[in-house]
Symmetry: C3
Subunit: 274 residues, 3 copies
Amino acid sequence: MEDRVRFILEEGERLWNKMKEIRPLVHHITNFVAMPEQAHATLAIGASPVMALYPEESGDMCSIADALLINIGIPSSEIFSAMRKAVEVANRKNIPILLDPVGYGATPYRNYVVDTLLKEYKVSVIKGNSGEIMALAGSSGTVRGVDAVSSVTLDLKDVVKTLANRFNAIIIATGEEDFISDGKEILSIRGGSSMLRNITGSGCIAGSIISALLGVKEDPLIASITGLIAFKLSAERADQRSKGPGSFRVHLFDELSLVRGEDIMKEGDVKLWT
Amino acid sequence: MEDRVRFILEEGERLWNKMKEIRPLVHHITNFVAMPEQAHATLAIGASPVMALYPEESGDMCSIADALLINIGIPSSEIFSAMRKAVEVANRKNIPILLDPVGYGATPYRNYVVDTLLKEYKVSVIKGNSGEIMALAGSSGTVRGVDAVSSVTLDLKDVVKTLANRFNAIIIATGEEDFISDGKEILSIRGGSSMLRNITGSGCIAGSIISALLGVKEDPLIASITGLIAFKLSAERADQRSKGPGSFRVHLFDELSLVRGEDIMKEGDVKLWT
Amino acid sequence: MEDRVRFILEEGERLWNKMKEIRPLVHHITNFVAMPEQAHATLAIGASPVMALYPEESGDMCSIADALLINIGIPSSEIFSAMRKAVEVANRKNIPILLDPVGYGATPYRNYVVDTLLKEYKVSVIKGNSGEIMALAGSSGTVRGVDAVSSVTLDLKDVVKTLANRFNAIIIATGEEDFISDGKEILSIRGGSSMLRNITGSGCIAGSIISALLGVKEDPLIASITGLIAFKLSAERADQRSKGPGSFRVHLFDELSLVRGEDIMKEGDVKLWT
């Protein structure tokens, strides 16, 4: 194992344990489909979720949170207004933000919401599936509804690095192999389960886990990689005990609750590309 | 087995396989209770769900979908406006629409939403429980909240046929025995599980499955019957392994993912009445 | 066992059986995270849930319900307006109301919603976790997001009694030990499972169960205690068969469906303090 990868995994182990100790409060503004599952996932790993979806209180709620997750899965102008209030508070108070551009490219309104947020505010991490990240980079025809399609022509490794520099943020493109970049390094993580494509909100759940780790307020690259490893190994373990998507979901939440810091070090299948 | 029933089941087998191949995108505008489960069910059978609930993007999202499901389970004027935009696009682009008039008869506003949609637009399939379909036919006192009650005085077979002609659509009245009519034929399907009454959104899930099959854009009567058979046999199989509504839901999603085209032919318990 | 406790448990046994017979319709205006689970829980115990979230129909829906549950978990001015319409109908028609002040103390808007409802209307039961009930009594620093924190300085027994007199309602503060008062008596209930802290909406589910029992329209103190016992013993039984929060949730819904009236009498671990 390369020294740099070993360092990242050691840091990940430490960060996971610290997250469970601190129990960060993650303010979610997210879609109605994944919302219950994201709350369950956040609790399962030992952090604390709160959902304040409307502008009447989103700014106030964000001000007491350790991290903010913005998921644009079911956007409206009211929810967008709540996002802006929360993001503004987060930027002012240095609360880390994870942005999940669900279905970017599928409708003009989704693009408008994401583009506006990225233009006017600073986010720490942007996490999407490969299709969404490709669309964000200007490649069309890569999203259908909210799912990525395979007609990918650009190299994901280049894309995450370019976008990381453009938005001054960690970029994550999830898939069978996840790609991550902070604009300097490019890393990838293998693992997970094909079952993840058969349940709703699996990417959204990964966002919650990373956000909980961002809530510790250390290195966002380590937080991103650690969260992805924890998610992927929980999915792998759940897969082995599942007969279909129903039982997979049950085991996934059980396994998320059982991840220990040392698992990050032992099972993280991380590769450094640059 | 009658020739006509045999033909329907053979077509159903073929349609199920084709649906899994094509992976239709089903745009849902539905209630918050069943939404996550409908997304899971759509994915479980191998189709692709998308939820765009608000007028800011419902028309745009519908334009890329293969089928549109309108479920009025938690209506508001904003969501109604989103429905109208989506339905308008669907009608213009010949995208098939399934309408689920959840709780029709329970409040004046629900009736207004459904009546307006049926007056101004064309839908392919209307699917409700027996109480909702009775209420739609003008029989009062058959809905309590969103559940059917037993005081049914009209003959369901007549009702589905009459409504099919009135709305120029396939009408489905679900229950222990489902009744289906296209205005000419009346068919019924036996099977399922009493457990379906103990979980929320079971009827809504059936709507998602039928909508996925409508997305193949062939005969909507075959799509309706095939979807109901797939749902009922999954419920039957799940029931045998369940101790209560919690485990039933888990097994139901597993079983939905395991249905194969040949099961439709072998296990569909369909009766032709006319 | 004290005579008074024995009487309460006997009444609880009778009430549970009567609830299952009557199948009360519980109108929920609640948050999007717990909504599906509350619907499932209400069905699991044999009652009937309905969710009408928007002002367009919340008053009409309430008028046919047996009980109204108001949960302020994700408040907005639109949903608050729906709450007011429903509560107004409930008060006029003597439909019992349970108020769940989720996250009271976390944001000014949540406080405004709860304070206004309590000032202008009459509720039968207020049920919160210990932090929310403490905040309602004016003790600050006891809520973080929507979860209670431990820095409790007042005596919960005193608080529930004081608030019961102030609001002329049954007050319930949930936790490892639940405290209940009607302003005269103070009772506590032991039991449950530490797993309840690892799933979302467990307190919300308890609210649905109590509301179903309130729907029988007998003694609200008995309804409160009976619902809490049924919830706690289901959680205890589910815990024994669970490996983590995923399987715990599955077993919890199974166990809720299996609770019988006689379990209330046999397993209710109730203590009378005054």
